[in-house]
């Protein structure tokens, strides 16, 4: 490996070293704040190192990885999210009795895995990234061992994830078997030569879709989502909902772009069905749900459905839409779970709808931020969610996928109901008077409230003046050869 390679892999390397460093430090001296600072710094450093790589068109590290604009953008997104989540986690775990420090190792590693996913161009790297992500997630989900729900969530996630990745692997094996290569480019060329896809190859793709679908928690591979979301600690839930999905989605896009999967009606059909099913199942499941974390889980299912609508557009505007929507979705989701984390206590997370009754009256600012997040999820103007949904619709209309578009509209109407339900609860007159707010230590306070403030500002900023973001995304995507091609 040349020095140049190291330079281009800087973000990933930083994360790796950070993980090791944290381990060593813990061995020497347990201190939550210190560990947290190290993590945060390393995330920031990794993020900054991206700026060194600005303007890289496409730097391949044969055969496993490639660094291009697309990769940079997604890594940046993932790192930023991870950073915010780590800040939330700090505030969240301050009040837990559990050993806090190892958490950050796992967080860093999981982030690393997600980053690897979006740069990988080879099944091996894909597999490694995915597993690094998953295995550390198992531990993260069940991190609060004393909570039995946490363990239950962990075991469910573990079994199901392993099960699905078995499918993914078998699919890869089949693809490999029938094409004789495991690099995306190779597969693409192999497929280009074929008039139509052989059965084995199709089966292979089908099985891979299962593995990917599980990570994206789309119907019918969604069933783990609510339980894991509910069981995991709020920040981890945020992580599962954002980073892991983001990484996998990035991979999916790259892969499809490389092999031009959009040419194959079979795959398109599968994804269409999956998308519609996800929208409906997600929204309808959330409709009467009383548990906020589960509501958000279900809503995330439907949001992945929306994302697939844009994804299915399969052209540049589609990819832009997906990316943009992903950003909006990240901001919103992290914000929402951040609020949950902020309100959570030592015993249990604030997940019951009742915990939010009259919140506006008790904690106006928190309630306002949460409202903004929910409205963004519902796709109401002045929030990022609106622009995202608009973008997705535009992509859909542009390629005249009327069925999908209409379904999307229908679903976002259904979705309204449960988002408003939460808001309505928050705005009801409180039965209890303003509870005495326990004064948090400033560092914790900054970590949690600061994060939420940043998210809220971003939310509105993107919602009102999306120009900058759109510009950035377009620039980044132009650097991706596959996209420029079409």
């Amino acid at each position: 490996m040349s020095q140049n390679d190291f330079l281009h892999l800087m973000p990933l390397l930083i994360l790796t070293f950070a993980a090791l460093l944290i381990m060593l430090v813990i061995a020497a001296w347990r201190n939550h704040k210190l560990i947290y600072v190290i993590t945060a710094v390393s995330f920031v450093a990794a993020f900054l190192s991206l700026f060194e790589l600005r303007g890289v068109v496409s730097y391949a590290i044969e055969p496993l990885l490639v660094i291009d604009g697309f990769a940079l953008f997604y890594i940046g997104l993932i790192l930023a999210t991870a950073l915010l989540i780590s800040m939330l986690s700090y505030a969240y775990f301050e009040q837990q009795k559990e050993q806090k420090e190892e958490y950050y190792i796992l967080l860093t590693l999981a982030t690393l895995g997600a980053c690897v996913l979006v740069v990988s161009t080879h099944f091996a790297s894909l597999f490694l990234g995915l597993e690094v992500l998953s295995v550390s997630l198992y531990a993260l989900v069940s991190y609060l061992r004393v909570r039995e729900r946490s363990d239950e969530a962990g075991i469910k996630y573990l079994i199901l994830a392993a099960f699905s990745s078995a499918f993914l692997l078998f699919g890869m094996a089949l693809v490999y078997f029938s094409t004789g290569t495991m690099t995306f480019a190779g597969i693409a060329t192999a497929m280009a030569t074929l008039p139509e896809l052989p059965l084995l190859l199709l089966t292979g793709f089908g099985m891979m879709i299962i593995g990917i679908g599980f990570k994206l928690s789309v119907v019918p591979f969604h069933m783990w989502t609510p339980d894991v979301y509910e069981g995991a600690p709020a920040p981890v839930t945020a992580f599962v909902a954002t980073v892991s999905k983001g990484g996998v989605l990035g991979l999916l896009i790259r892969f499809f772009m490389e092999v031009e999967g959009f040419r194959y009606p079979t795959l398109m059909l599968i994804f269409t069905i999956v998308a519609i099913a996800s929208m409906f199942a997600g929204n309808l499941l959330a409709l009467m749900q009383q548990n906020v974390k589960r509501i958000l889980a279900y809503s995330s299912i439907s949001h992945l459905g929306y994302l697939l609508v844009a994804f299915l557009a399969g052209n540049r505007i589609g990819m832009e839409a997906v990316t943009f929507y992903l950003v909006a979705y990240f901001i919103t989701t992290v914000g929402a779970f951040g609020t949950v984390a902020l309100l959570s206590g030592e015993a249990r997370d604030a997940e019951q709808l009742e915990d939010y009754r009259g919140l506006l009256w008790r904690r106006p600012w928190t309630a306002t931020v949460f409202t903004a997040m929910l409205l963004s999820l519902a796709g109401i103007p002045l929030t990022a969610g609106f622009v995202g949904k608009f973008y997705v619709l535009a992509a859909g209309v542009n390629t005249q996928q009327w069925l999908l578009v209409v379904m999307l509209v229908l679903n976002s109407v259904i979705g309204l109901y449960y988002y408003i339900k939460i808001i309505a609860v928050m705005y009801q007159q409180p039965d209890t008077e303003r509870e005495p707010q326990q004064r948090q230590r400033p560092s914790v306070y900054v970590a949690s409230v600061g994060t939420l403030a940043v998210l809220a500002i971003l939310l509105v900023l993107v919602g009102v003046y999306p120009t900058a973001l759109v510009q950035l995304i377009q620039d980044m995507l132009y650097n991706m050869p596959a996209v420029v091609a079409r």
Binding site: F123, A124, F127, L128, E131, V135, Y138, A139, S142, R145, E148, R149, D151, E152, A153, G154, I155, K156, L158, I159, A162, F163, S165, A166, L169, F170, M172, A173, L174, Y176, F177, G180, T181, M182, P226, D227, E230, G231, Q289, N291, R294
Partner: protein
């Protein structure tokens, strides 16, 4: 003397293994057995990779197999740890018992 096995047959074997694992995941209630069955499935995929590798006369298949083994090991370790916890709390290994979260 050596008898050559056709690639398809070998792949079929892998497939059958995979199915076995799959089915036993479905029918088992004991979490440990479920874990083991998943491992079987993973190994089946490993086999499939090796078959594919030998078909194209490449080392990649075996490499993947090694990766899978490592990953499986990691998974099992985490898994067993979790199972211990569950057992502490539920005093049983019945996976169906672990359904606090539903709806």
């Amino acid at each position: 003397m050596s008898t050559t096995v056709s690639m398809e047959a070998a792949l079929l074997l892998a497939g059958i293994l995979f199915m076995l694992g799959l089915i036993s995941v479905l029918i088992r209630r004991n979490i440990i057995f479920m874990l083991i069955s998943v491992e079987i499935m993973l190994n089946a995929t490993g086999l499939a990779f090796i078959v594919a590798g030998t078909r194209w006369v490449q080392p990649d298949g075996q490499i993947m197999f090694i990766f899978i083994l490592t990953m499986a090991a990691a998974e099992v370790s985490v898994g067993l740890a979790l199972i211990l916890q569950i057992y502490h709390q539920l005093k049983t290994l019945d996976s169906d018992a672990a359904n606090f979260m539903k709806g």
